[in-house]
């Protein structure tokens, strides 16, 4: 269940928007930090360079003024040692030896005259000599045996030797590393928080859109009088809802107008038809002679056919305009088809037609049962009227998860080539047909209004085949559950 619920969320627009927004946020904060980091690093360097320059100046002074006697090394060494203790924010090294600072006095060539620091200073001297050094300008020196480079500044004193003061960049790196770690933690937390906030905010916003979509699709299927909720907001979603409602107003008006026209047409025609039928029937039942009864009876038949034609053509007109009024309930197609076959079977076998049903059991659709009855009656009437004797009609019903398929096929002559292209148009009928030519147009219109489709073809081994597909009611239930899963997350 969780994996099924996760994938729609990942496919949702809220997820994508949050991802992009978070990415932009993450990159932006990273850039800001990069600049901040650079500034802090530069500042630390400047401070340590200033300290180094000051100290090396002092040490140069001391070295110049101290007499070059036995005590020289002691005095200068002591001063250098003291100076090294003044390093700001000094991180004490683990050992007793001070490896954060070194002091070196050396001539341009030859061994070091004086070394204060950890180790013997030969490695430092070699590195410093190999680097091109300008006096008073600090430079970085990577010295063997130390993981962290030293910042070195030099001064030339009167006796021609150079004094070098090196400060390990350990402190600077330590500060920066601390900064990095804290930033990373903070960055991750804020990116995550940002993602969550953006995701839920967009999902709430898009949830309103989804509500509108759901309401709109419900309206499209059933009634036109309902309106999309959530029209109060002054944002894009509110505008969308209001625009949709305006559009629905117009559609409802148009449909209402169509209904008014068809209703008044029906009403105006039905009243005189009722009067005529009533008079004919009264005449027939008032004991007329047999030879007079026949034309009256056939007039009544014609009248009924005319009424049926009127009803059907108005239904087709409405269905073509997607305005057919449906009262849908759950219908078992299998049961419905079987009861229709029960009704038609005697008539068919009288005509020498065989009927077969192939169905694997209950197939539930959400449909208007009265209209479905008429659809199937139309299909079977068609077979009855057009098939020669001793043909076989096969009605098969099958369903997958989404669609129910009803196929009516026969081994008769099939559809005329000229007719089959316009099969589902109004008033198209075969040359010998006595019907009003509305049958298949009605079938197609009604099935389409139910969200299905009709296809007609001649079978390769002869005979006609009509296939009606209708959406199963189970899938609609599943879609609803799906939508609910989305809403609940």
């Amino acid at each position: 269940m969780s994996s099924k619920a996760a994938s729609p969320i990942m496919r949702s627009a809220a997820w994508r928007i949050s991802l992009w927004a978070t990415l932009a946020f993450a990159i932006g904060t990273m850039l800001v930090f990069g600049m901040l980091n650079q500034y802090v690093a530069d500042d630390i360097q400047q401070r340590s360079d200033a300290w180094l320059s000051g100290e090396v100046e002092v040490l140069g002074d001391v070295a110049e003024r101290t007499p070059k006697d036995r005590l020289y090394e002691r005095v200068v060494g002591e001063v250098a040692e003291l100076a090294s203790r003044e390093v700001p924010n000094h991180q004490r090294s683990s050992g007793t030896e001070n490896d954060a600072v070194f002091f070196l006095q050396a001539a341009d060539s030859g061994p070091a005259k004086l070394w204060v620091g950890s180790g013997d200073g030969a490695a430092s001297l070699a590195v410093i000599r190999s680097a091109r050094v300008l006096p008073d300008i600090p430079f970085d020196a990577r010295i063997q045996g130390f993981a962290i480079p030293f910042r070195v500044v030099s001064v030339r004193i009167a006796d021609g030797s150079n004094i070098y003061l090196g400060l390990s960049e350990r402190d600077e790196l330590h500060v920066l590393r601390n900064l990095h770690a804290r930033f990373l933690a903070l960055w991750l937390a804020s990116v995550l928080l940002g993602f969550i906030i953006v995701f839920f905010a967009t999902r709430r916003m898009l949830g309103r859109v989804r509500k509108i979509t759901e309401a709109a699709s419900r309206i499209g299927q059933s009634d036109l009088s309902t309106r999309v909720p959530d029209t109060t907001g002054n944002d894009e979603v509110g505008h969308l809802a209001r625009t949709l409602n305006h559009m629905l107003d117009r559609i409802e008006n148009t449909v209402h107008q169509l209904h008014t026209i068809t209703d008044s047409l029906a009403h105006d025609l039905r009243s005189p038809l009722t009067a005529i039928r009533g008079k004919l029937e009264t005449a027939l039942s008032s004991g007329v002679k047999a030879e007079d009864a026949e034309p009256i009876a056939s007039a009544i038949d014609e009248l009924d056919r005319l009424t049926e034609f009127l009803n059907t053509s108005l239904d087709v007109a409405e269905a073509k305009a997607d305005a057919l009024r449906l009262s849908r309930t759950g219908v078992d197609l299998d049961e419905l088809v079987r009861s229709m076959i029960d009704l038609y079977e005697p008539c068919m076998s009288d005509k020498g037609l065989g009927v077969q049903i192939r169905s694997a059991g209950s197939v539930r659709v959400l449909a208007d049962p009265a209209l479905l009855h008429r659809v199937i009656a139309n299909l079977l009437d068609n077979e009855l009227k057009h098939l020669p004797a001793s043909s076989l009609v096969c009605v098969s019903l099958r369903a997958d998860k989404r669609m129910a398929t009803l196929t009516v096929e026969d081994n008769g002559p099939g559809f005329d080539a000229e007719v089959s292209r316009h099969l589902f148009e109004r008033r198209v009928k075969g040359r010998e047909s006595r019907g009003h030519g509305l049958g298949l147009a009605f079938v197609e219109a009604v099935v389409r209004v139910h969200g299905g489709s009709v296809a007609a073809a001649n079978r390769p081994d002869g005979g006609a085949q009509l296939t009606v597909t209708l959406p199963c009611s189970e899938t609609e239930g599943q879609e609803e559950r799906h939508a609910l899963a989305l809403v609940n997350g």
């Binding site: 068809t262 009722t274 009533g278 029960d342 005697p346």
Partner: protein, 225 residues
Amino acid sequence: MRLLLVEDELEIQGFVKRSLTDAGYEVHTAEDAHTAALLASKQVYHGMIVDLGLPDQDGIDLILKLRKDGVSSPVLILSARRSVDDRVKGLELGGDDYLTKPFAVAELLARMRNLLRRNATHAEDSTRLRVRDLELDMLRRRATRGDEVLNLSPQEFVLLEYLCRHAGRVVTRSMLLAEVWGMRIQPDTNVVDVHIYRLRGKIDTEGREPLIKTLRGIGYVLKGS
């Protein structure tokens, strides 16, 4: 029994009134809702037939008003409209019935009879039906004519049962389709006739008096006792 017929189309009113009178009812007529309400307030009617398209008021509003005033007699609604109003559906649930125009007089009579019977609430013997020498055992689903057991399919039994319950009265094809098969369709082939022919072949065998009579253009009738 006294009936009130509310219909503004005089031609329709005329033949409906004549048929109802022929069937033995006393019929009062009204052309508009106002007159109908007045008549209904003066005397009690056992049943009413109301057209929905009245000149001064919608038929539904008239019925609802009468119901509010305490008139409880059953109503047969006549409608020339294509769609069935939700309020009509509501009335249907309340025990009233409706018929779309154009209708067969036989169907109107049958429905009216049904409504009146429903109102009278007298129970029929539901286990055994007898019409002349035809007998239907409802529990064992077995039909006999005289001494002979009729070999009927379940479908044919239901059809015969319906004809027997309406013995002596006309039933139309659309009544049979609606009541026996439960569908409101108008097939343009003779599917119902074939069922009747088959049933007749089993009941009205050689040498017996034919019971099922065809009335062309109208329907069928099973001769009553």
